[in-house]
């Protein structure tokens, strides 16, 4: 059995049936990571990974059962795993060692996972190209002259390059879906609150979620089943029952009502992704789905809305990185004020500083109502518009990005151009709905393009079913 040809589900099965050891699987992927150091997708391979794998093999022999028993997993650098570094792509947290386990890590460990490495990311998840990491840029798995997308660029590139069967990312405005699209893999942002954020270094609390990045849709559904569920440490985590997602993948879209957003029809015109998008709709229709015209009138405002809410929350969330309690303290600081100003100025990169400043602008007195409060009211309006639209359809289909992965450095000098990378993905964060990116069709140089499925809150099952169907038909529509 060739380990890298196995899906996550098959690998988990093979290990639990003791056809492959966790040790061999973990060693295989560690070696892969070593081989592809050029990508700079992985920041650290945990030195106890193989020991943990051996322990798991023992446990499996002794009857341990778990969905991830012995399965090697990569986490993004902003997810806390007790005793391991979590630097959030930032110089500020260069030597920060997690003092407790995040809920997602705990759930994976309980399921038997061997968490063997952490992946690079944009600093504090602020970016769409993994070029803002203090630990160097990460490269696209399929074309090293291009960005892997971001902020979960390390995780997506690692999965795309076959360095791990699965990686966790976080998605605040598209940070799982956009890099998944760029690396030809599958990534979901679950319903807000479906996965607990406890122990995940916060960027924009009200809109971000952890989610899995995998090679295919079924693997993704399998992995999400491990991560979901309420946490007593997280008020915003949903305490409602967790369904099986895999069982909702039916291999058919017959009778499904696919929402075609008027605003997307307009926005997509002329973009590289347009053909993939139209092909997807055509394919779904040919296979028995009904296309329904729907509208979210203020779709275009999701992007500016995001660039008010996210920086506002970030500015407050990042206040705790003050040089007093943990990690970086400027060696030059002579008093408390200097500890604050110097540690933060030295510890944060340019984009992080920009967003902190922007956040303070929209929150500060005199601007609060015009920006922050207005954005929150707009968010409510968008949610209401989406509720109307979801009455008419089961899900929306829209592109993940405008085109294939762009060249390294192409947008790094232009923040607004970079922000517009998330044009299609931000809506799901603002609405709190689940959204998946699945590869469909090819663009320039045969690089993958991604299609998004967005359903109403808690309808991950629909999202997975449609994405799986699109994935199954992907080959028929591949173009070079």
């Amino acid at each position: 059995m060739k380990i890298d040809e196995l899906s996550l589900i098959d690998l988990a099965k093979a290990i639990s049936e003791q056809k492959i050891t966790s040790y061999d699987a973990t060693k295989f992927y560690i070696e892969k990571c070593e081989e592809r150091k050029d990508l700079n997708a992985i920041l650290e391979i945990f030195d106890d990974a193989l020991d943990k794998a051996k322990e798991m093999d023992e446990k499996i022999k002794n009857g341990f059962k778990g969905k991830l028993a012995g399965v090697p997993v990569v986490i993004k650098d902003n997810i806390l795993y007790k005793g391991k570094k979590a630097s959030c792509g930032s110089r500020f947290l260069e030597n920060y060692v997690a003092q407790y386990n995040s809920t997602v890590v705990q759930k994976m460990l309980d399921a038997g996972a061997v968490i063997f490495a952490r992946a690079n990311m944009d600093e504090f998840a602020m970016g769409s190209s993994t070029e803002t990491s203090y630990y160097g840029i990460t490269k696209n798995a399929l074309d090293p002259t291009r960005v892997p997308g971001g902020s979960s660029g390390g995780s997506a590139s690692a999965v795309g390059a076959g360095l791990t069967p699965v990686a966790l990312g976080t998605d605040t405005g598209g940070s799982i879906r956009q890099p998944s699209s760029y690396n030809g893999v599958v990534g979901i942002k679950p319903t807000y609150g479906r996965v607990s954020r406890y122990g995940v270094i916060a960027f924009a609390s009200s809109i971000e979620q952890v989610g899995p990045i995998t090679k295919n849709v079924k693997d993704n559904a399998y992995m999400l089943e491990v991560l979901v569920g309420g946490s007593e440490h997280d008020e915003t985590s949903l305490k409602t029952d967790v369904p099986s997602y895999l069982s909702q993948i039916k291999g058919s879209v017959k009778g499904l009502r696919i929402g075609v957003l008027k605003e997307i029809e307009e926005a997509v015109a002329g973009f590289e992704v347009e053909k993939s998008y139209r092909d997807t709709l055509k394919m779904l229709k040919e296979n028995g789905a009904t296309l329904v015209d729907v509208s979210i009138k203020d779709f275009k405002l999701t992007l500016p809305c995001y660039y008010i809410i996210a920086p506002a929350e970030a500015t407050s969330n990042l206040g705790r990185f003050d040089g007093v309690k943990y990690s970086r303290r400027s060696p030059d600081a002579k008093d408390v004020d200097e500890i604050y100003f110097k540690s933060r100025s030295e510890g944060f990169g340019k984009e992080v500083k920009r967003r902190i400043m922007l956040g303070n602008f929209v929150l500060s007195s005199g601007y609060f109502d015009a920006y922050y409060n207005k954005a929150k009211k707009l968010q409510q309006k968008l949610i209401n518009e989406s509720k109307e639209a979801f009455k008419k359809c089961d899900c929306f289909v829209l592109p993940t990005t405008a085109g294939v992965a762009f060249k390294l450095g192409a947008k790094s000098g232009d923040p607004v151009a970079m922000y517009k990378e998330d044009l299609f993905t931000i809506m799901a964060n603002i609405l709190g709905t689940p959204a998946i990116s699945v590869p469909f069709g090819k663009g320039e140089n045969g690089l993958p393009l991604g299609i998004q499925i967005v359903a109403d809150r808690l309808n991950e099952g629909v999202v997975y079913n449609v994405a799986d169907f699109i994935e199954s038909k992907g080959g028929d529509y591949a173009r070079v």
């Binding site: 405002l301 933060r344 100025s345 902190i356 602008f361 207005k374 009211k377 309006k381």
Partner: protein, 97 residues
């Protein structure tokens, strides 16, 4: 709609609130960049939201956590990543109170 302009004093005020220090050059370079971003977010400021109201996500009082005390982390684990500690405490240069 007129563009939102920002002054150097405003940028300095934001830097103060942010606990960030910038060189004069950085501050100057910041302004056009920031104004470009403001142009984007001003779309929200200038949009019509009708009678849309703030709605809070809420839960019932009875769903809140019970008042049960649990074990804390050991002191050495709390102080683990601290750049400076003394006498079981986090430590900063002496402040005037």
């Amino acid at each position: 709609m007129s563009k939102t302009k920002i002054t150097i004093d405003e940028v300095k005020r934001l830097a103060g609130l942010s606990a960030l220090e910038f060189s004069d050059e950085e501050l100057k370079a910041f302004i056009p960049e920031f104004e470009q971003i403001l142009e984007l977010v001003d779309e929200v400021k200038n949009c019509d939201i009708g009678d849309s109201k703030l709605e809070y996500t809420s839960h019932k009082l009875s769903d809140c956590r019970e008042d049960v005390a649990k074990e804390s982390l050991p002191q050495e684990e709390i102080l683990l990543n601290s750049p400076k500690t003394k006498k079981g405490s986090f430590c900063v240069p002496k402040m005037l109170d």
